[in-house]
């Protein structure tokens, strides 16, 4: 499921760029590429950029990077094959400098060699998010035309004044006009939706999906044991006892099946208990007790505090000294319960065999009282410390040591895209050890991608809007980290969305990176001094909350594009609005659809 999302965002990074091809913005290579991408019709965004070589790389020449954001379901090989084998040979024109002798004379041979060269350099995203999902470029263009047409019709209708202030009548009149227009026949079918935006959109379906899969798994495991048992029973009834070896094998299979069943059920129980306590402490108690809510907010604030203060310092270390050992103990207890429950039962019996029931109950109550007393004392101390002076909450370090300078090439690229979909290419290095960092990044990115696919299905990642295609790639054998994003608005606003919205995901995705000195590629910026990603707390807190540091880090990692393709040039909100309008105009007449139509023409 996730691979299909990742395959929509491709980067082809070909090392050893000698720079003999003319890559001027309006030169024949890029106009040919523009023409190709328009004709192929399934590429929504594309860009070409030069990636500078690592300082410690054997080859000092830069790599030529091509980014492609394509429609869902297309295999990257099929996409590349289609682009390369297009009669225009635009891809060959872009890459031909990799063949200094001019390449083979036959077009098919050139295509084959180019495909063989590019396929190993192709990287599908290690993680990513797609804002306007389930839509093809053709669909977006048609729905935009419908939106514009509807707005035009609305103006004309308003001028006649025939509907007055009756919004329902106005919406109905517009729907009738749209319905009678044969050029909108395509809109009679509801806009297509994938499972997680369609039938699987509700929470209950998602829970049902997980429970269903779990139960089916349990049934399968049970059958693995039950079928041989049943067969042996039937055989014994029909013909007498089977060979002893058969009985041994069946007994083993049956035992293994029971063990897996037991482990699965106990795991499910542990997950339920963890979820219950998570809900209790993070949802129920904050709702019931204001003090608990304030305490949680304060804890969160201290962990996420961008600057270092004594309050955040002490919170962090209390976390290390108390919470981490406690969490490890819980995990260890859960593991023992899952795999060797007998140990816990034996230990419980050993500890309580001298005690009567009332004594056990009394001990539990005593423990609860002790906990409440401890929490109260801790709370009082906390409040007293807070009252002792502001020094406790004041930062004791500077935020950013210097003012941020943006390289001219980045400024130029951003200037070209003003008013359209903005674009960002960021190249950083992975922290050492690379394998460890790469593993963590991949794990984090899979979680982000999964969340984007299953939960954030309506154009927002967390609370961050305006992302068309944002994707991360670990390249060069796990040494570097490439991030490409196509987003609405400005760079500052875009990063603000992450800083204030999808904080944890962004911190997780970037915290394993660093910025090592490197030369420039073409007219792009160089990195003169090493930079680090802002410090984090427990891997997920702080990080991007250090706003200036984070923005400065992101700016320093950026590279300019040489070429940029934007098929639809439409903001995500506008795309979503147009799809909603289509469904509302051609759907049944009700208040919701009428309201959607009116909002679409009024916005």
């Amino acid at each position: 499921m996730l691979e299909m999302v990742r395959q929509q965002m491709i980067c082809i990074v070909v090392p050893g760029w000698e720079g003999t091809t003319e890559l001027a913005e309006n030169g024949p290579v890029f106009t040919g590429l523009e023409d190709l991408l328009r004709k192929v019709d399934v590429v929504q965004f594309a860009s070409v950029a030069l990636l500078p070589a690592r300082a410690d790389a054997e080859e000092e020449t830069p790599s030529l990077m091509m980014e492609l954001a394509i429609e869902e379901g297309i295999d990257p090989y099929d996409m590349l094959y289609r682009l390369i084998c297009h009669p225009s040979e635009a891809m060959w024109a872009l890459y031909r400098s990799y063949w200094p002798d001019g390449g083979p004379p036959l077009q098919s041979e050139r295509n084959r060699q180019l495909l063989d060269k590019l396929m190993p350099c192709l990287s599908i995203a290690d993680g990513g998010f797609i804002g306007a999902r389930d839509r093809t470029a053709r669909q977006i263009e048609k729905e935009q035309a419908l939106l514009q047409w509807t707005r035009g019709q609305a103006r004309a209708l308003k001028a006649t004044g025939q509907c007055g202030d009756d919004r329902a009548a106005f919406a109905l009149a517009l729907a009738q006009r749209a319905f009678q227009n044969p050029s909108f026949d395509w809109a009679l079918e509801p806009a297509p939706r994938s499972y997680w935006r369609g039938k699987g959109a509700s929470t209950s379906t998602k829970i049902g999906f997980v429970v269903g899969a779990f139960v089916l798994g349990l049934v399968a495991v049970w059958l693995v044991g039950a079928v041989p048992r049943g067969a042996v029973g039937l055989w014994t009834w029909l013909f007498g006892a089977p060979h002893p070896d058969v009985l041994v094998v069946v007994a083993f299979i049956s035992k293994a099946s029971r063990w897996v069943l037991g482990v699965s059920l106990r795991t499910a129980l542990v997950v339920l208990v963890v979820l219950y306590f998570g809900w209790l402490f993070l949802v129920a108690l904050p709702a019931l007790f204001k003090s608990w809510r304030l305490w949680l907010e304060s804890l969160w604030r201290e962990l996420d505090r961008p600057t270092e203060t004594w309050s955040s310092w002490s919170t962090y270390w209390v976390g290390w000294l108390v919470v981490v050992p406690l969490a490890l103990a819980v995990v260890a207890f859960a593991m023992v319960f899952i795999f060797c429950p007998r140990i816990i039962l034996d230990a419980y019996h050993a500890a309580t065999k001298e005690l009567y029931g009332w004594q056990i109950v009394a001990l539990v109550l005593l423990a609860l009282v002790a906990l409440i007393v401890f929490v109260n004392v801790f709370s009082k101390v906390n409040q007293r410390v807070a009252k002792t002076g502001n020094w406790f909450f004041h930062p004791y370090e500077d935020d950013v040591p210097r003012a941020q300078q943006v390289h001219a090439s980045i400024d130029r690229c951003e200037g070209q895209l003003v008013g359209g979909t903005a674009h960002m290419i960021s190249l950083t290095d992975l922290r050492s050890p690379n394998g460890w960092s790469a593993w963590w990044i991949r794990t984090s990115l899979r979680i982000v991608t999964f969340a984007g696919r299953v939960f954030f299905t309506e154009g927002r990642l967390g609370t961050a809007p305006g992302i068309h295609f944002g994707h991360w790639h670990i390249i060069e054998g796990g040494r570097r980290y490439l991030f490409c994003s196509n987003y609405d608005g400005s760079f500052g606003g875009y990063l603000d969305d992450f800083i204030n919205g999808a904080t944890i995901g962004t911190t997780l995705a970037w915290r394993w990176t660093t910025l090592k000195p490197r030369g420039s590629a073409g007219a792009g910026p160089a990195v003169d001094k090493p930079r680090s990603f802002p410090p984090t707390r427990f891997g997920v807190f702080r990080g991007v909350k250090c706003e200036l540091k984070f923005k400065s880090y992101a700016r320093d990692s950026m590279l300019p594009h040489l070429y940029r393709f934007d098929k639809c040039k439409t903001p995500v909100d506008q795309i979503i609005l147009a799809t909603g309008l289509r469904d509302a105009l051609f759907g049944e007449r009700n208040d919701r659809n009428d309201d959607l139509i009116m909002r679409a023409i009024e916005s």
Binding site: R82, P87, L106, K199
Partner: protein, 437 residues
Amino acid sequence: MKLTPGTPDALAPGLRSLSYGIFCWANRNPGALRKIGWVLRRWPFVGGWFGMAARASAVKAVLTRPNSFSNTAHAGNLSAGDYLIGMDPGPTYAADKSLLDDRLADLDLKLPADADAEVKRLVNELGALGKNKPFDLIDKYLMWIVLRAMDPLFGAATPRVAAGVNGNINDPGLQKQYMMEIRYVAGQLLAGSTATLRVQRRAELNSDALKARIAAVRTDIENAWNVHGRSADFIDRNAVGLAWISHPVTVQSGALAVQELLGRPEVHKALREEARRLQQIGPDEVWQNKAFRTSVYNHVLELMRFRPIFPLLARDVPRDTEFVTGARHNATCPAGGKMAIWSISAMFDPDVTKDIKPFKDISQFCPTRNWGNQADLRWLMFGYGTRQCPAMKYAVEILTSALIGLLILPELKLARGEGKAIAYDGALMSRMLVNFI
């Protein structure tokens, strides 16, 4: 309903792969389909519950009622746009059919001579390979024979269609690219709506490429077909349809026939013995001996009966109706639904030949079987009635030439030792590695 390009998958994750996996497995294992077909023939009311016709009489009855059981069931799988196979009868259908008949008439003049000529060329080429050197029978043999044999379909425009508007017509790689393009478009017809999104999108990509290719050489086709004054839509629709439906389906059928033949060593050996005997008489005798050609022709048909490219067919039900299953009650078909035709089961229905003498068990391989007045049933893999494939005889003729070529080459076997000899791409066979013994 037309296939909407780029429609996302509305099924829950895993379900599509599961259903497509079952579909592909069934296509690759016609024996399993035949066994299910036996059950459906034995208890036809079971098929009735699920809207399936399995008995020969039921299948024939359904296929002779095109207004009640419509071909539009195929339309959703025509990723390159509408074509005859997915249309209901009407003016467009009639015009397109007339053009197709004209094109096939041209084919009549050149077959089997063109196919034989290409087979002879490839026999010489492959004969030089030597023993134990694996080669792909589809890629190196069948594809090219069918391409050359079907040259007359596009007439003088064939080189341009195959090489593209700017391509070098002597570049075999470009021709191969064209053949891959049409293969995936045809594959969508076979895979149908069960196909995974990846397969559907690949078909769409190749359809776009094919349509662009045809549009770019429209004038060449217009001249070659002598259809001046006809609309661009008419030319494009027919050229695109003719391109993807003619070649890949024949190649796949050929590969399936060879697969079946290699699984029947006695049949293969007997045919080779006969070919060798004729070669001893004279080098061209295998090509000129009519009895031998007829025998190979019958073998091709029988092999295709056992391994048809379309073992199952679907039909749309435009209005409430019912069909005779052979059970006590007819099966009802609600309007707007679909029903399935088990051609593979009908071709093995023992009721068809039980009264024909000499009696031959219909489940047995017998190319010389007397079908009596049921001879049309042996062509059931091509459909039946007015909507039967109009090019079926040409396809079998081309495959006969191809099979004769294989019989005079050194003996073939599926290559072992380098992974699986037969590789599938979904329901399609994408590679068939063989070597000479």
